[in-house]
Symmetry: C2
């Protein structure tokens, strides 16, 4: 006999089974009873932010650290306020379960329009279909458990958002706990697999200057260990994409830097683009990752979760982890082929009275970021400048480097802090981006989170000034460092010179009781070398 349960209870049990006990969101009347159920059950930590978008960015960052995140919101006014953030999670492969309340089925047969509705009662569902790999409306108790399993299964498989809509009168609907006959996954074809391995091995064996590029899927599919195994067996240099930055410890001796094509460091680019065998493992083929790459496809092996391309041909149904693992096992030629010349480490000497330049700010940050930190970046020079921060042992890096939605970092820091209270977030955000979501600092006080935050205050949208200058690139100057007065907690410091920055860094290091926000004044036209290259490339497109 099948065990019975309720729709809400089945969903709650499923979240527990997947090991997610932190839930981000804001209640509203269509979902509030589900919040009540979550609270009542006692096993969940419900983190409420100021706005739903903040909750979504926080859940996204949490999912990147954890492997799965959950967002819970009300109908339309809640859900539709997370569309941009969920789009970012889709674009950059963050596995996120979005649960939305909805009008009860019994309310839908009335003659009048229900509040929070848009065109009709499928509008939100239709919109989320564009942003997710699976979605469902739990309108039938008999199928609800299967729908929940299918949708959450797709989230885990594809590492992308999914959407579950829960009508408010379906919570207590009785349903049966499914008993499954598990279906075995597509069995791989051994001949195909071995042909692919052999071809890749042969390319590697003949190569004089092989190189490996690791991408974000290495972390998303938890392949760090086998990726490291391959690196060490291969002995050649490796880089990462910007989305894959810090997939493993950047103090690894074979690490040469972040590869970004024409946007990135020139020595790294030169080495890779002159390589005669390039393994690109687990990377998204995006413009910011590889869009300005200039290498010959006939020298590349591009292996990702859903693709294996060697030179110009494709192999189907090759598992990324198995591929890396087999390569590693079967590699025999392990003579070291590593001629990359590392730059001399920069010896940073403070120039006390000097204004703070973007370049020197990031050079200084290299020694500020210590073990067990998470560097969380926003968009613009926060992202580009931070590419050169060397992420130390036990530390990590997180930035929305492809979707590049401004305002990501401050709410993302909430998700990071909740998931890893043992690690210290270092958050870097531009003033324009801070004005979009900086109010979520309020949650740092509410939940006693203690990151260090740098607001790069250059009076507006500096990235854009190099594309098209205009009055519209200027923003109101805020006294960002005074925000602790508003939120009732936190330490704020304003700095303009290198000496002031040093003092602030010392205070931030010593502050164990709250967040520290450092308002860093910079020249409005100053930019990092990466941003310089980026605006060169982009200007060509805009003024084509």
């Amino acid at each position: 006999m099948q065990k019975t349960t309720t729709v809400a209870q089945y969903l709650i049990d499923k979240l527990k089974k997947e090991g997610v006990y932190d839930i981000f969101g804001i209640p509203g009347d269509y979902v509030i009873r589900f919040f009540g159920e979550l609270e009542k059950c006692g096993d969940f930590n419900i983190i409420t932010t100021c706005s739903e978008q903040g909750a979504a960015f926080a859940a996204d960052a949490y999912s990147r650290m954890n492997g799965l995140g959950v967002l819970c919101v009300t109908y339309c006014v809640g859900g539709l306020n997370t569309v941009n953030a969920v789009a970012g999670a889709y674009a950059e492969k963050a596995p996120l379960i979005v649960i939305s309340g909805a009008p009860g089925l019994s309310e839908r047969h009335n003659k009048y329009l229900l509040h929070h509705s848009v065109r009709d009662l499928n509008s939100q569902y239709n919109i989320f279909k564009e942003l997710t790999v699976a979605s469902c409306q739990l309108e039938d108790a008999a199928t609800a458990p299967y729908e929940i399993d299918r949708v959450i299964g797709a989230c885990i498989e594809h590492k992308r958002p999914v959407y579950i809509e829960l009508p408010r009168d379906m919570l207590d609907a009785k349903c049966a706990v499914p008993s499954y006959h598990p279906i075995s996954p597509n069995k791989k074809d051994e001949n195909t697999f071995q042909e692919a391995i052999n071809e890749a091995l042969a390319m590697f064996k003949l190569a004089k200057q092989p190189v490996i590029i690791g991408g974000e899927e290495i972390r998303r599919y938890k392949l760090e260990e086998i990726f490291t195994g391959l690196l060490e067996k291969a002995g050649c240099p490796y880089a990462t994409t910007i989305l894959g930055k810090s997939i493993i410890d950047e103090s690894h001796p074979q690490f040469i830097g972040v590869y970004m094509g024409r946007l990135g460091d020139e020595e790294v680019r030169d080495y890779i683009e002159h390589s005669d065998c390039i393994f690109i493992l687990g990377a998204l083929n995006t413009d910011t990752n590889l869009g300005t790459a200039q290498f010959d496809l006939s020298k590349t092996i591009f292996a990702a979760h859903d693709t294996l391309r060697i030179k110009h041909h494709f192999y189907n149904n090759i598992d990324l982890g198995e591929f890396i693992n087999s390569l590693s096992e079967q590699l025999v030629n392990n003579e070291i082929r590593n001629s990359f010349k590392h730059k001399e480490p920069i010896c940073f000497e403070v120039q006390p009275d000097a204004a703070i330049s973007v370049k020197r700010f990031f050079e200084r940050l290299n020694s500020f970021v210590k073990e067990n930190s998470v560097v969380v970046c926003d968009v613009g020079d926060s992202l580009f400048g931070s590419v050169d921060i060397k992420i130390p042992k036990g530390s990590s890096y997180l930035g929305p480097a492809y979707y590049t939605s401004m305002g990501y970092a401050i709410p993302a820091g909430i998700g990071v802090s909740i998931r890893r209270p043992d690690m210290k977030p270092v958050i870097i955000v531009g003033d324009g981006a801070f004005q979009m979501t900086g109010y979520e600092l309020s949650c740092y006080v509410k939940y006693k989170l203690k990151p260090t935050i740098f607001v790069l205050n250059n009076e507006g949208y500096t990235t854009q000034r190099y594309l098209q200058e205009g009055e519209f690139n200027n923003i109101q100057d805020w006294n960002y460092h005074m925000l602790p007065i508003i939120f009732g907690g936190g330490l704020g410091i304003e700095v303009s010179t290198e000496a002031e920055l040093e003092e602030a860094l010392t205070k931030a290091d010593m502050n164990d009781s709250s967040f520290t926000l450092i308002n860093v004044h910079m020249d409005k036209f100053d930019k990092s070398p990466t941003l310089y290259r980026f605006t060169q490339v982009l200007s060509e497109k805009i003024h084509a």
Copy 2:
């Protein structure tokens, strides 16, 4: 010979032709050249907010005051950040043109994914199809002018949002200025029209207690004058829906109040629900407007832009304005049938040491709101409490009373102030809603706007406490009145007693140089009579 122009220029000329010279938005690389063109042309006032959602709410409010509004954003990270606000404009019929940049056609044939993209290059377009009455992607210069005309025409006709996507390499594409043979609209059928008028007139003539309810379409289609004409000819009492509040001057002697069914004032409800002939003109049939109405359909005439229902049958193709006008002209029985007993006006006497209750706060506001004001409300008791504010001559009321997205009022205040610099906005917002979008106050400093803002500070989501209490209804307390320190302008005042409130109101009245924000402390469980009724009705649904 046809005149030639460019796609960007045609769009700019069309906006000018429709008389919209204020444009709200934030630039990004996919749209920044269009911002450059707008600025260069010198005729537009470009208002940049902190976040795109803020720009969208501002443009929505502007459109409600003006008859048309324009929002201009970048691709996905911009556009998708406005989805919730545009959904609200759709739901409540605010005519809004959304212009979004997009990747250039020439960039789309590359092998890599373009930044800011979601699933594919139609994702944002597909999403906006759910939120608009017409949309286009300007991918062909030959059809672009026709598409622009069609889409903007639909916005004006349906008073709902439309979406125009402009690839960044199409700005300079040459196109011909169309020469039109205007198509005459569907000619009305005289027999149908006269049958409808006759039926309505007959019902009115026989009625002992007729009543008129005016809705938001009266303002949207600029029918205020002919609506007033009908009222005065009919001589009977009239109410408005909450979305239609203040369509005409509430000091009109026939005005009896806002009708909201079980949610609203009991005397107004009683009079209307005992009426034997109810004209409902230009109202949306939503739950907050009419969803809890308890009257017999066989006594109603429901005339809106797209519907005429008399009793239980429908007439097609009846223009709302013509219908009201003809009724007015043909009404002959003009004996006064008005037995509504108005309440004694409340004589508000300050109790200096008393804490500020919700009820007395709104009673006091009745005399604070003077001629030439615009009361802008957010959601929760800001909305419900303000229903009873009597809007004086030359003044107006604006609140998202159906879609009810929290966080509307502060950015909406920007749109109102830009459109009507001659009117004084009085903005009422709860603390929870303020935490969602209150950072847009920054724009009040940037653009020197001078409204008075009341933050109803009751420590969280009070409306929800009565639906389902839980930790998730509590928010961090902010020193809202200290925000002028952050933004570098504005006057902030904190009040807890009636005497303090009086002093603050005096200061607000005298402040001609900046916004005034009053942080009004209230008990976390206190609520207005309307909110009390609302939570009663809603609780039945949630705990059904």
